[in-house]
Amino acid sequence: MSDADEPLVLSDLISRVLDKGVVLSGDVILSIADIDLIKLELHLLVSGIESALHREPNVPVLPDGS
């Protein structure tokens, strides 16, 4: 389970920007359903909390957590 343990911030980012967000009808959106996100495991791996702090350094989200 060590692979699955790695936080996948870039992977999360990409899955969010590809298939979340408001849905528009019509042909303006390309098909994205078949993307295999597993390849992203090889990329940027950052701990979730570290990344949260990185994204917003002034507001630590877990003041006591570690």
């Binding site: 790695e6 936080p7 996948l8 967000g21 408001v22 849905v23 390309l30 990329h43």
Partner: protein
Amino acid sequence: MFYVYGIVPKALTGAPEGLDGTAVSLVPVGDLKALVSELPDAQYDSATVEARLADIDWLSPRAIAHDAVVSWASDRGGVVPFPMWVLFKDRPSLESGLAPRVGEFHQALDRVTPGREYSVRVFAFKDRVAALSPAVAQLESEIEKATPGQRYLLERKLDALRQTEAREVSASVSRSIHEDLSRHALGAITEPAPKAAAAAILNAAYLVSREAPEPFQAKLTDLIHTFEPMGFRFEFTGPWPPYHFVGR
């Protein structure tokens, strides 16, 4: 091609660079504005983009740029994020494509503006979690007293029991964490974990008040202190733009 990142209130001005370092302009759409970059037709027609989507080295910087524009807006107030690759061939088709949706965009903005999105994922270390089960403890003590002959069968039974108990304990912990966090959030959603995190027992997004995130933070910290010593591990990211709370 006109690439749209999302919809923002009319008052928003300025904008960071977008895909490929292009300028992002704020194009009026009804009484709202769209965050828009103009991209070269030849590189961004549907067929070309679709062909390159699986190329992670091509996709990654563009996904990061898309998120950066939407996050910039989210840091300043409400935004209705679009998924990547909302492309219009010209300004008139952009305006006529988006204008009929203005009412819907307003509703979405009203819903998400008070909050920001945080993602929580929980994993279980199966053996430690199974050890929490009284049934497992009971069987373990039986095995200690068993004769060598009985022991083999009991140990196989124990393996199976550990599996099912770990699943049950995980499911109930997952439910309870989600209920607790949902109570301190403006919105909550669970979804199946992506392949790369398939072992997650909870994969959830929460819309948390931007004015008062402390109760959510305190509850999450509490839960981590309670459950990590029992064999659960938390992953946490955010703040994200409200990707999970504007549609679908």
